[in-house]
Symmetry: C2
Subunit: 465 residues, 2 copies
Amino acid sequence: MTTTSVQQALAGHIPEGGDVTVRGWVRTRRDSKAGLSFVNVSDGSCFAPIQVVVPDALANYESEVKRLTAGCSVIATGTLVKSQGQGQSFEIQAASLEVVGWVEDPETYPIQPKAHSLEFLREVAHLRPRTNLFGAVTRIRHCLAQAAHRYFHENGYFWINTPIVTTSDAEGAGQMFRISTLDLANLPMREGKVDFSRDFFGKEAFLTVSGQLNVEAFCLSMSKVYTFGPTFRAENSHTTRHLAEFWMIEPEIAFADLAENARISEEFLKYLFRAVLDERADDMAFIAERVQKDAVTRLEGFINAPFERIEYTDAVALLQKSGHKFEFPVEWGLDLQTEHERWLTEQHVGRPVVVTNYPEHIKAFYMRLNDDGKTVAAMDVLAPGIGEIIGGAQREERLDVLDARMDQFGLDREHYGWYRDFRRYGTVPHAGFGLGFERLIVYVCGLANIRDAIPYPRAPGQAEY
Amino acid sequence: MTTTSVQQALAGHIPEGGDVTVRGWVRTRRDSKAGLSFVNVSDGSCFAPIQVVVPDALANYESEVKRLTAGCSVIATGTLVKSQGQGQSFEIQAASLEVVGWVEDPETYPIQPKAHSLEFLREVAHLRPRTNLFGAVTRIRHCLAQAAHRYFHENGYFWINTPIVTTSDAEGAGQMFRISTLDLANLPMREGKVDFSRDFFGKEAFLTVSGQLNVEAFCLSMSKVYTFGPTFRAENSHTTRHLAEFWMIEPEIAFADLAENARISEEFLKYLFRAVLDERADDMAFIAERVQKDAVTRLEGFINAPFERIEYTDAVALLQKSGHKFEFPVEWGLDLQTEHERWLTEQHVGRPVVVTNYPEHIKAFYMRLNDDGKTVAAMDVLAPGIGEIIGGAQREERLDVLDARMDQFGLDREHYGWYRDFRRYGTVPHAGFGLGFERLIVYVCGLANIRDAIPYPRAPGQAEY
């Protein structure tokens, strides 16, 4: 008797006619008049459940099998046979069907075999992986994550686990979460202020907003590195596009300039999408059927077309000449809004676009100043259907220029002394980018709300579990 | 002209006699009387630097090449030739050597070409990846992480990103970090207490201590899952064995019992160690030469021997009969201390041991109560040289028993209502374990202090960068 996953059974990993055991949860049960019950069993290993055909000859047929409801856990043993049904490769002719766990009060069980609203499922996030949609999203998320690690590993990058707790990113402190063990009922004070020297870390500490500055230390010794970990924003934003806790992928490449950075971002995204199409065809077919019609063709189009490159200055001119009425103003020196990005990538180009060389005053201090003195070597990758999906830049490797930029932004050189060291000791040109992992999943799965792209979403007022 | 990594050049990825360019940082420079300089260049892609032989005929030989010091960044172009030197496969006969970045004030540059104390290097954690040891640790860490993801993927597990922000783990709140955006100078109060309903998440929130409870939701729908992410302990512990922020790997397997859990933990550890020996032979040779003599043979021994299994009750009897003088008492009902664990695995068995079935009152509420009513189906994997490396358990899947255990531990059933749901709706036996990733690295690399196993260590009073 071979115990297999449903995926292995459906893929014919054991010989037809062989004995097989699968274990999982009932999705549906249908009884025929011919003294048979058809029980669909899912174990999450693939999109499809496997059909278990149960004859009424089984001793527990009346007492148990006919009482099975969605969510009950079972162990089905029998013979693997070719399925007569459409779209099913194999099914199991049951010799036994053991009920492992019942569903207490099936009437009130939240995951009924019917469509539920996504809002409702967010309320029962601990049970929603039992649905078709969240099973598919979970497998696609896994597939994308594995593909990301694999791409980097195959291309000579090292995964660097940059810190979650940080005392470094003073610039963004307004939108950061403080981490503390101080007793709020008895705060230590000093000269009228909270004395963080008596807090756990000996100074005020926050949750990281990005691993980039930290990972540069490893870029400038290991050459090719990346982060893949949680980052945080304390923005009081209730949109469908923002999470307080989300995962970011940030490669950083020594000796790379902006063109190389753009090339890698294109290669990387295409690698990820090819992996999903190759490895999760079952889940993508469901997404295309139920969530977003063009889910598959859209990714195929993305993979097959070269990304366009446009300078920010040219993009502004195009937008101004477009004749399109935008809500937000279009003017050199202003940042592009989502409506502008989507017009560029959807209306004007019709495929992904890398916009480069943005005005220096709307981008971060560490981005490399171009020779024109007005722009920095920043880039955003825009994709039809979503707008910005990647943001990156070549970094400022010249100490004197970096110092001037820090002065301009009112940043304390001493606080960034360690970051300046990389420019004092064997500096090299380098570049990198950031990909919000949940935004990627939203794009691939055609989700309307980013809270459905992560197992346990965190947002203002929301941190259940 | 092919630009390659040092690793590719040394491995002969381009033909002997071919043109090649490498880019990296100078480790050492030695000038010969014959009008040649030997410049060792590292780019972090492998342990060894590549030797670049620079003739004095180069135009910048006197002005630049002879001024090169450790840490300078260079681009070396020339011909790849078989090396005459020992232990080097190939070297580069330079046609040009471009200096990209100098080292400002080489005398005070912290990373000199000599041995530094680990204490000193912890003070300059942003520069320590430039040393032999931390380069090796970084590559080994990456190799272990990739191998972990690969093992799970190949065996049908899904990676689940459980939340970092949690409001759930009330039991351990004393040792948890609070996350907040409240203004400490103006705390909202209600009935004499801080009113967390006005905090960002609408209730008191903490950094997670484990993803296990959260990942069970996915185990009980996807069957085989794992976490791999940061976890936190606010213990005021200044030992060499504890970090405030560390990465944990936690698989969780539906329908697995304790024996299957132990089998998987053995298979998993052996898979990881085999990957390090196969893929990072260069770094492990250095570790064996400079850090721990038996670093390689120890892992080989670990892989080749089956783990022993011992019941806790038998382990206590063995310890009591050992005649060994222990600092801590040995008595049925007390937890095993490191000295006991090390005696068992090092003195008594001489290889890894899985100790099973611990007294119920010293283990967590969610571990499965055995039929004796006195022990739970917990396990610890002990290894020579380190003691406990993995802790795990079969989980309590019976709602009535779980409820009784929660009452016993004084836990609020309502607070864990979502966790109880898994036992109300299609419960199944399941089991899992946790592996502290930095402790694994300490073991593999023979490190004395866990702060050297993570890029940016966080501990009481320590959160630089």
